[in-house]
């Protein structure tokens, strides 16, 4: 059982006035003026503050995590200045980028007027430890489930602290503060309901400095401080680099891999007549490329990330989609993806194309020019997944055909009828959370199938009644219902009287051409068999409702079986007379026509 550190991540953002310093990276925002002729002097470039770059990077980290792992990977933002402020909570509804952006607005940029000496990142770090001790919804569920077993939940988490560090000693003092905080909070949360001691915490410092500032060599790989705490320090320039750094961390923290989809044809923005090929880089779980990475068969496939991520990317070539590939693909895994640069035009083109419901096959270029379709991109219900298609030899090769096996030589299966049966038993999602469905929807589906199959001969030659549905309708489809109303009972009775009439007129039954496997070709025997089948059908449903009993009563009245003999004509006529009175009362006089023998 794994209790991943990545379940809970706290971003501690330094919100002190020092963070309002410029990142020293100029951004030209006044571009595209060429077409407006000469004489326009572009406006001076803008620069972001260190705070802006940090906030952007942290939000980008969350965007990727929420896109790829919407359920069990949680992130909380903590701003630290003269005190610590949690921007969101572990609650599921607070775990989305929009919520974070809204909270960042309310927080605002670091205040110029705050006294720097009152501010400390320690506030944020100790608060981060406190929130890591808080149980998430998932952890509470798991703790409940585990109470039955001997094992106990392990509470682990990660703190990513974005700040500027002064020296190794500064790092040292911060990690001591965190260690101290863990010990304290563990004592406090030992017996609390919604809290739990931290079993392990990973502390990641991202030291950010303005672009061009001399390097301070405080970066340090991951090392263990105590069984409870490990620390690592990353150093990065501000500006774009900090986002690259933080996304790189996300790749490590969640074991992500990158795929570059190459050769996507796209209409040019300026010149809509022509099209050019673009590449789009996607992030997803590493498992997507397990086959290629395990086999070491990646020669010529791996490139350095084109979006500048500190990692490699596996290239897959876009295959122009065929219209509406609806057949089932041989898909052995599906994982969520998200574009590395979600705003770029090529990314938007690709995602919109997929969200519109089309699928794209991806091909691994292989040596020797052979084509290997290894993946498929497609969306389901508003999210895009990369599907792994099986590309190795299958043990299912060359099986004997189903027609060679048991039951394979029968040619009169009720294929069409069963097709209708399947459509009648199609499932639909019960999505309304507000209306309880009791019993569970799936149980109701099973109950439905159970009722529908109480009598269901699978071959045409096995049945009389299902070959003469035109005479019996709508009885067979009504009788399987769990309730019948009065009209439906009457419909069933009509059907029974109809066949009674047929028998009394000595009409032949529509026997299938193939002939019955069961004995008897004489008309009398055929009728006997038909009655037996009909009786079985009505009897298996008799306990569905009291109304069903009425149908059976009608059947028995018309067709009393005494020691295997069919009822006498007299008895039957009496029953029919009774019905006629019934019908007369109900002014359904047309029905009388069906039984001329009583005229």
């Amino acid at each position: 059982m794994a209790y991943p550190v990545s379940h809970k991540t706290v971003f501690v953002l330094d919100h002190g006035p020092a963070m309002m310093a410029s990142s020293k990276e100029n951004i030209d925002f006044d571009v595209f003026n060429k077409s407006r002729g000469p004489g326009i002097i572009p406006l001076a470039p803008v620069t972001k503050s260190l705070w802006t770059c940090n906030a952007e990077a942290a939000v980008e980290y969350c965007r990727i995590v929420y896109d790829l792992f919407p359920d069990d990977k949680l992130v909380q933002f903590v701003a630290s200045d003269t005190s610590a402020t949690s921007l969101n909570s572990w609650q599921h509804k607070q775990q989305n980028v929009q919520k974070l952006l809204d909270c960042l607005v309310v927080l605002g940029p670091p205040g110029h007027k705050t006294d720097p000496s009152d501010c400390s990142i320690v506030h944020g770090l100790t608060h981060a430890v406190e929130v890591l001790c808080e149980l998430t919804e998932k952890q509470q569920d798991v703790r409940l489930a585990l109470e039955e077993t001997e094992t106990t939940l392990q509470n682990k988490g990660r703190i990513i602290c974005m700040t500027s560090l002064k020296s190794d000693r500064h790092v040292q003092s911060l990690q001591e503060a965190v260690q101290e905080a863990i010990i304290q909070h563990n004592q406090l949360s030992a017996n609390a309901d919604s809290f739990m001691p931290l079993n392990y915490c990973e502390l990641v410092f991202v030291h950010v400095r303005p672009v061009g500032r001399k390097s301070d060599s405080i970066s340090s790989p991951k090392k263990s401080v105590s069984p409870l705490l490990s620390v690592e320090v990353h150093v990065t320039d501000s500006g774009r680099s900090v986002a690259t750094k933080v996304v790189g961390l996300a790749q490590r923290h969640y074991e992500l891999f990158s795929t570059t989809v190459t050769g996507i044809p796209m209409k040019e923005e300026q010149n809509s007549g022509s099209s050019a090929n673009y590449d789009v880089e996607l992030l997803h779980s590493r498992d997507v490329h397990l086959e290629a990475l395990n086999s070491g068969n990646t020669e010529g496939l791996l490139i350095q990330s084109k979006e500048g991520l500190p990692s490699q990317s596996l290239t897959l070539k876009w295959c122009t989609p065929k219209s509406n590939i609806m057949e089932l693909q041989n898909c052995v895994g599906a994982y969520r993806v998200t574009p590395v640069d979600v705003n770029s035009r090529p990314s938007a083109c690709l995602t919109n194309f997929l969200l519109s419901g089309r699928a794209v096959m991806l091909e691994q270029p292989r040596k020797g020019g052979t084509r290997l379709i290894s993946h498929m991109l497609a969306s389901h219900g508003g999210e895009i997944l990369i599907h792994i298609l099986s590309s190795t030899r299958s043990v299912l090769e060359d099986p004997p055909s189903i027609s060679e096996g048991c039951g394979g030589r029968i040619t009169d299966y009720r294929i069409h009828d069963f097709g209708e049966f399947m459509k009648e038993n199609r499932l639909a999602p019960w999505t309304d959370q507000n209306i309880a469905c009791d019993p569970l929807p799936l149980q109701r589906s099973e109950n439905h199938l159970e009722r529908m199959t109480r009598v269901w001969p699978i071959a045409i030659g096995d049945t009389m009644i299902f070959n003469m549905l035109s005479h019996l309708d709508p009885l067979p489809s009504l009788i399987v219902k769990d309730k019948l109303d009065d009209d439906e009972v009457l419909e069933c009775k009509k059907a029974i009287y109809h066949v009674v009439g047929m028998e009394s007129r000595n009409e032949p039954l529509p026997v299938p051409n193939a002939g019955l496997r069961t004995k008897g070709s004489k008309r009398e025997e055929q009728y006997r068999q038909m009655w037996t089948e009909l009786e079985t059908l009505i009897k298996v449903h008799v306990s569905n409702s009291p109304q069903h009993q009425k149908v059976l009563d009608c059947f028995t009245d018309c067709h009393k079986t005494d020691g295997g003999n069919t009822s006498t004509i007299k008895q039957r006529d009496e029953a029919i007379m009774e019905l006629e009175t019934d019908l007369a009362v109900k002014e359904l006089d047309t029905f009388v026509l069906l039984n001329p023998s009583t005229k």
């Binding site: 980008e60 705003n343 969200l355």
Partner: protein, 508 residues
Amino acid sequence: MPTVILLDVSLSMSRPVKMENSAGSEDYNRRNLAIHGINTFLDALSVKNKLEYVSLVIFSSLYEQLVPFTRDYILIKSTLTKLTDFDKTSLAIGLSGAASTITDEWGYSTPSQIILITDGSTGVGQGSLKQILETHKQMGIGDKDASFQFPCTIHVLCLASPQDPTIQASVSMYKKIIDIYGHGGEVCIPESTLSLDSTQKMFCQFFEEHCSPFHGVLECGHLECNIHIFPKPQVYSKSHDFEDVELEVCHNIKIVGFLDTSDVASPPFISRHLVFPLPPQTANTDAGASDEAIGDTGKIPSFTVLLHGSLKVENMVAICQVGSEWYGMLYSWADPHKKKSNLMLSIFEPGVKSLPWLGKFTHLAPHQIFTASPYGEDDNKTPFPVKITEKRSYSLNHVGWIKPAGLQADIQKVLRHARKLPEKMPHFYKELNRVRKAALSYGFTELLDALSAMLDRECRLLPGSAHPDAALQLSHAANALRTEMARDITQTITPMSTKYSSIINEAR
């Protein structure tokens, strides 16, 4: 599953076996016994599970794949008659050889097994069992490189007498090896003194335990049919976050309802299996449905055949429950050459939420219970896919300015509308407020001033023919961006109401 018979052909395998009551009969050596055992095993396969692929690999200090994966067991049998002796036992070579024959053929996801047939002598020096264990100890337990990166069990069938004094030590070493490779397996030794009989018995028992076919019952309400599922479904054993899951496929595969193929939309599966119908009485008793027997049963109606036919004609799938909170689907599958089709069972990842676009499996209801049919009056709608509740960033019009291009594109949008004032007034203010809000989120207040300067310039550059309202709105917006109000998220910059704009509104 694909099976490698990994046969030890080192010199020690040619040691003769002392037969207790072998008065006058021929002498056997261990290799003869091995061949006898393998033949027993192959005979059982050909009767009961003839679709399994088997390969023959021999090893000593080198390895060689004598027969590639095949269903032609006679070929393996005849190859076995032509074996010769080689040098010493190097188990490391044998196992890595067997492993590469598997991954070359089947990749890294097909479950497979290696049946190692040896005599209990664990080798000496380089490549010996002892040495593998020692190297592993140095690398540390849980070292990923040591274990197989593909699901492959290792079974050791040891041709040694249980009375052999060294055998217990060997057995425990074999068990350690199986643990190191990490996918389980068993060590078998004959129950009694080494002989043809005890060898045969060991192989038979092994077959029954590990290679016998999977028989079950396919149910759809009251309709049912005995079935043979090939390949045998594996035990699902995985360590997930917060839970360990160990599940076995149940012998009753229960259909719970049906879906259109387009609605299930190529779902990922963890394994695929052919489903063959079996005649009613023979299931679970005698699986030996030989060809002749099938000839007789061909005329017995089988629900499986009916289901296959209808699924194929209607292009639908049957959703079925294969275990506790574990589901799969049945559908008609044609082999790549499209000549023959069969009923296929795809087993999904366990759990009720393993296919999010179908919602929870336990919440799939018969469509009759809905007040309005989810498939529409004329069967022209579908309730699938189930939409996700939280949109992903790529469908949210997410603002990201990490790259200058993102910022430039958003500014450009504002400018484009600015140049078409007053017609594009609503768009202009909408984009302006969108950029303003994002700037406030990221604490990027410098941008507000820059934007203000840019709008001032646009105002100055307006051609003489421009609508008077354009200049008014541009300078209004530019001024608004410079006020404290622009930094208050609860406020929105709204169009200035001018006599021109009211004229325009009236004209509309």
